[in-house]
Structure formats: C-alpha cells, structure tokens
Symmetry: C2
Amino acid sequence: MEITKLTDAERFDPAKMTKNLLVASDHMFCDLYCLEPGQAQKVHAHDGSDKVYVVLDGTATLTVGEEVQAVGPGHAVVARAGVAHGIRNDSAGRVTALVVMAPKP
Amino acid sequence: MEITKLTDAERFDPAKMTKNLLVASDHMFCDLYCLEPGQAQKVHAHDGSDKVYVVLDGTATLTVGEEVQAVGPGHAVVARAGVAHGIRNDSAGRVTALVVMAPKP
C-alpha cells in the first residue's frame, strides 16, 4: 500500500517555499507546501486544472481571483481552472498546506 | 472566496458512515468521511478515477487491492483507478478522513 506520512514530507528552506510531493497519480497530485514567514507562491493560473489548498498548520494568506484572505488550519480553499491564485505566509510562524491539483497539468 | 472549515462538515450518523462534501469542481471533489466505530465503506473500485484518503483523526483501516492496513492521522493513502479500495473503522474511537477523487466519476 502506498502510504505517505505528511510530516515526513515536511521540508523548510530558508531561501524559498518548498513543494513536496505526497502523491502523484494519473489524474491528480498532492503536494505539501511549506512556507517560512515572508515566503510566497506567486499568483498564477492554470487553464485546465483545479487546485484545492487545505491549510494544515499556521495561518496562510490565500489569493483567489481578486480576493485575498487569511486562512487558518483546517480550512479548504478552491481555485478553479483559469482563476489566478497563490499562497503566502504573512504570519510570524510557519505554514504547511496540503495542495491537491487535478488533472495533472 | 470559497472556504470550507473541515470541522463544519463533520457529521456522524449512528446508522452509517457519512460522506460530507467539502469541495466540488469540474475535475475533482473532496469529501469528509466520518465513521463511528464499526462503520465501513464497502470495498469497491472506480475504473477511471483515482482516490486519495488523508486520515485526519483516529485510526482507519484501509483496504487497497489485496492489502489491509491500519492508518493513523496525518497519513495519505492512494487508490489508483481500477484498484479495489475501502475504509472502515475497526477502532474504539471516531475516524475522520479527507477524501479526494479525480476526475469526478
């Protein structure tokens, strides 16, 4: 059985946020994003793929379209195909988020 | 912004396990499964869709193909298209799991 322990994938880099693969399949992938304070994923869009962020630890600042919002642990946010989105860490603590994307771009 | 608090979707039913929608998009959906002790999802397969289980609380018993394994919180398990899979709660406590499926069957 393919089992991944989420915390085993945790990796923080003082230079930039990290994306750490948890699961890749033909139809989707799941990453663990790790952001030190001040780190960010540039706002971008995917034409044909939806993305879901599930904040696991810390408070992330999510951008979806024109909206920017602080999102705490245990919340899921969807960015549908074609809609600009990004995550950043404006907080004083670390942020980890489970990120699902389908289909694989 | 479409934000769902996972615990807001939590719903336990003494009669059977529940599947509670968190996010639905064109390319995937995310459910929160809630299982009381003894409850189960029948082992089944989807021809064209992959499923990922992320156990959030409690210890679930996952079946993927011929394998059956106890899986604790913070672990992700993938069941690829065509492979039989299911979740049950053989423990004495409640189980919640985030379940992602792509594409929507």
